[in-house]
């Protein structure tokens, strides 16, 4: 019997305030996939993620690892989530450890076990020394790492990232992707990431969905990142070009690897 799909979305539609935001979206990804959703601003990428996470009402069917996701059932430890924006009160007196502990699954009661999990999660993102720091005192990049640690603390099978690179510079972008790639490989994660930037997606993605209220295209980067799909998703004035670039070191040989970046261009 074939392994169940990590994420299976069938005929998903979302209507908010009488306005159709998403219409009849269907796709599925396998366990271990690095899946990236692209599309212009307002195309419904965040809405799709929130619907899948039961944070918005939807019609259709969503399954995670073969289990249907019912409204308010709670996605439990299977799922981690890193939000697009985390607007919190910076004067909130909560430490990094407390902020991660609230996300821990309820069944884990022993304080030593909880502390161990929190410390492990912080270690994975290089923030082990910040457990007792107030989260409001951290920089934007550090908060993002804490949010990733929080998403990882329950040792999830799939993690959703909603535009995690908004406002991040090129250096930060590369270090973010490297971190996610490492976590994906070491924890055997399935990654779903929303991005409006197609620049590096084909370096990391196993599958891509191009969205603009409806599903414009779905498949491998080679299939999806073609001019016809880009025009459909972003508008007639847009196209795509590919170029080679040294982007990261080979983990075994430490020699620079050549990768192919895609860039959007508009007329």
């Amino acid at each position: 019997m074939a392994a169940p799909k990590a994420l299976d979305v069938k005929n998903l539609s979302v209507t908010l305030g009488g306005k159709k935001i998403l219409q009849d979206i269907s796709f599925s990804i396998d366990e271990g996939d690095f899946f990236i959703i692209i599309g212009p601003n307002g195309s419904g990428k965040t809405t799709l993620i929130k619907a899948v996470l039961n944070l918005l009402p939807y019609t259709g069917k969503v399954s995670l690892f073969g289990k249907s996701v019912h409204k308010r059932a709670g996605l439990g430890a299977t799922v981690g989530y890193v939000p697009q924006k985390f607007d919190f009160d910076r004067t909130f007196p909560i430490t990094v450890a407390e902020a991660i502990d609230v996300a821990l699954q309820k069944g884990l009661r022993a304080p030593e076990q909880r502390k161990e999990r929190v410390d492990d999660a912080l270690g994975q993102v290089g923030m082990a020394d910040y457990a007792q720091a107030r989260i409001g005192a951290l920089s934007g990049g550090q908060v993002q790492r804490v949010l990733i640690a929080r998403a990882m603390v329950n040792q999830p099978k799939i993690v959703f990232f909603d535009e995690p690179l908004a406002g991040v510079d090129v250096k930060g972008e590369k270090s973010f992707y490297d971190l996610i790639q490492n976590l994906k490989e070491s924890q055997k994660l399935t990654v779903t990431l929303v991005s409006h930037d197609v620049t590096v997606v084909n370096l990391y993605a196993d599958k891509i969905a191009a969205l603009n209220r409806t599903l414009v295209a779905f498949g491998t980067p080679q299939d999806v990142l073609v001019a016809q799909n880009i025009k459909k998703a972003y508008g007639q004035g847009f196209g795509i070009f590919r170029h080679k670039q040294c982007l990261k070191k080979d983990p075994q040989t430490q020699s620079p690897q050549e990768g192919e970046r895609c860039r959007l261009f508009g007329e």
């Binding site: 039961n54 709670g74 909130f92 430490t95 407390e98 902020a99 609230v102 309820k106 107030r134």
Partner: protein
Amino acid sequence: MVELLSYPFMQRALLAGVVIGVVCSFIGVFVILQKMSFFANAIAHSSLAGIALGFVLGLNPMVTAVIFGIIIALLIAYLKNKKILAVDTIIGIFLPASMALGVLVIGLLDTYRPDLLTYLFGNILAVDRFYLYLSVSLGLVVIILLSVFFKNYMCITFDRELAGIQGLHVAAYDYLFIILLATTVIIGTRVVGIILVSALIVIPAASSKNISANFKQMVAYSVVFGFASSLLGLVASYYLNLASGATIIMVSAAIFLITLMLRPVVQK
């Protein structure tokens, strides 16, 4: 001090004051972090209509005030969730409207009721056994429920989306919190009055926020400040012959000023 404790009215006042101080300061942590101070104020003002209804109907005014306060609080929360109007607009409508209703209902009374003033400004020295039992039992219910759901409320306060993903029914927790807040506010009106009760909720928590390094510390300090304000305020009001409710709030405000000065040192 022994003399003070020998009076039954003072024993009741101290017990009621301390319980209310602790309950208000505990729930106050969530109130200020969820930016609901104005909401607490609206519930307090709506209690005037509940109290007046109690007098007109010949029922205990504290009981009718609690029921009326909860209804108004739930109505505000319902309209807030519907996102028809901004929260401050909804409160700006309900606060004066329920206050006006209270004034109109008071006009229906056949006789002048001087004890109505004690609800406006509080008079803890006049609390009877019924109020003592009511406030202690309701206060304990609030403390127990907040303690049982402490982690869930902490999660909702810090990140509502995360709470939803974890399977918490956030809207149900919100409504429960509003019922607990309305109950706390109304039983608190007897201690410091309708006009000052929101200070009893907000000031200890705000003082605690000034000097806390983490969430648990914030709750602990807030409860200590609430307890100390009520106790010191009552004792000071007895010996200095001052209004008890106002003295409690002034002690609380003094603690806030001290923590405000300590803030740069503690949070360095």
